[in-house]
Symmetry: C2
Subunit: 369 residues, 2 copies
Amino acid sequence: MSRAPSFEVVRVDPTGARLGRLTTPHGVVETPAFMPVATHGAVRGVTPRQLEELGATLVLSNAYHLAQRPGVETVRALGGVHGLMAWEGPILTDSGGFQAMSLGGLVRVDDAGVHYRSHVDGRRGTLSPEDAIAVQEAIGVDVAMSLDECVPAAASPAQVAGAVARTTAWAKRGIAARTRPETALFGIVQGGLDAALRAESAAAITALGFDGHAVGGLSVGEPASETARVAAGTVGLLPAGRPRYLMGVGTPGDLLRFVAMGYDLFDCVLPTRNGRNGTLFTRQGKLMIRNAAHARDARPVEDGCPCYTCARFSRGALRHLVLAGEMLGAQLATLHNLHFYLQLMREVRAALAAGSFPARAALAAGSWA
Amino acid sequence: MSRAPSFEVVRVDPTGARLGRLTTPHGVVETPAFMPVATHGAVRGVTPRQLEELGATLVLSNAYHLAQRPGVETVRALGGVHGLMAWEGPILTDSGGFQAMSLGGLVRVDDAGVHYRSHVDGRRGTLSPEDAIAVQEAIGVDVAMSLDECVPAAASPAQVAGAVARTTAWAKRGIAARTRPETALFGIVQGGLDAALRAESAAAITALGFDGHAVGGLSVGEPASETARVAAGTVGLLPAGRPRYLMGVGTPGDLLRFVAMGYDLFDCVLPTRNGRNGTLFTRQGKLMIRNAAHARDARPVEDGCPCYTCARFSRGALRHLVLAGEMLGAQLATLHNLHFYLQLMREVRAALAAGSFPARAALAAGSWA
């Protein structure tokens, strides 16, 4: 349980995609990898056993939310974040920068940190960059994220520049506050859609000796072409020997595209949120299970899919459960979608290992490729 | 798949409790048995695989609700009720009498049947006693219930007497409408809290040759002592060679009490509904997981309980999931509660087989006994 985190690039594809291996105190993560999202300590509607069976390795939670509820001391009393979640595999937590943006009026940011009013109990508090490290170390995450300032796509150039400077200052303070070498710590590059600011941020953050690097502040409302432009322009500025995490991305097609650029880690709420809304991912594209066309369709969501949902339930049955508001409908749709994402990443890794990327991975992505 | 339904009393205990075996087209049900409730075709939050692992055998659904949504022809197109639910074991459906009462203003009852206005799409329709049989045969249930008129505890003597007469008339019409001998058909005894009316109803219903008999119209708002008085007074009026089903009952203590009277089948929403509300059944009584006392408690809900929830999650973790509104909290609490009920019934059957009822069963029920 005390292995120092390490990352090994196993193979670099001619496309720029990398096959890698991230070793953490709670196990090895083969990369490229997709992280299911468990913001409050649970992937919505999915048991840890189901997550294991789906082949998830690294799961994303959120230290800011867990510190608000149930609180750091409670998480510690319950066996840390792994005990709380009943998940024995690796866990990465975001630290609060993105939440500070998404919680809007409840939060104010200055150089000291994130001043919040709790969405749980209304209490006011401040999360400094040192606190962000202390919280993540205390709850025992495998990969911690440095506190960053994340700004929306519509932010002014001055706001973006300010966020870059503050994120760098906070990164330095966070690194200086580390006490637990077995917790990997990743820095986050900001800079909005401005190539020069991205370069400035990347240079500053990568100079600090983080165990890995993330590109934040994308998928925050900008057009997809801008996401791709900035992601492509930034990836080469991140050290090749460390994992590269593109935060909050994306569709199955996005995963293929950004893997090909050389990103290793991804998270996104799409498979879980879309599942709850009755939107299923298939190689033929989105399947809206509420549509009347599926009412009497005895076929599975996706022919040949080995997931529990497709092995046991028809489209018509799933549609009925979703329309009836049955919890099971949301659970089954989420299971299928997570299977789709995790299977896609298995195909991506197999293709990279066999030298058949991106063709083989594109087959698994179908019309998403 | 065409075995005719049959019931065998394996052993009669000195208490009056019976160990039995109900054979249906989809498998054998060892009795006494508790049926998890899947009104709309799913036990809320529980996959069929989990139900199997919990040891459920017979599951209760509702033909009235399924006929409203997704509709009889849709259920047929999806492989019948077993295909819809992805449940390969036996299924019993209630036919609509209780729903006619519980849906209140949307329903009017006269001799022709139940005149409803659909709670799904507002359409008006009538469910006759013949329709009730036709629907249940068409969707392929293992045990069908005759259409009855169920009245609340506060009904007037004239209303209760009217419901008895109508339930008998409907029972005759339903029996005459049978076309599928492999579907077991149970009649329902009504009569409110009036011993004479119960006797009248039991005499009329049991004269008709049903495969089993149910006592309905209890657990509809009356005091528990009245439920027990009427259940005790009625059970001896039901043929000993056929299964006896006490509808809508009850707490773990109720199950022991009514098993001892000679009832064989039970259903109740308590384990599932209470689970969703964060109330857990344990041998020590109810555990309200939202209570602050559990916040940092690393023990399982119940020491020694082998259910998935207790094997993997602490009280504190479960409390966090429930307070955070995570679907997983409701799922885990429901799993534990169903395990408690189904394990209790396994202990009841083992005790009856070993001649150690009720002492051994009382141990499993703990403070509920």
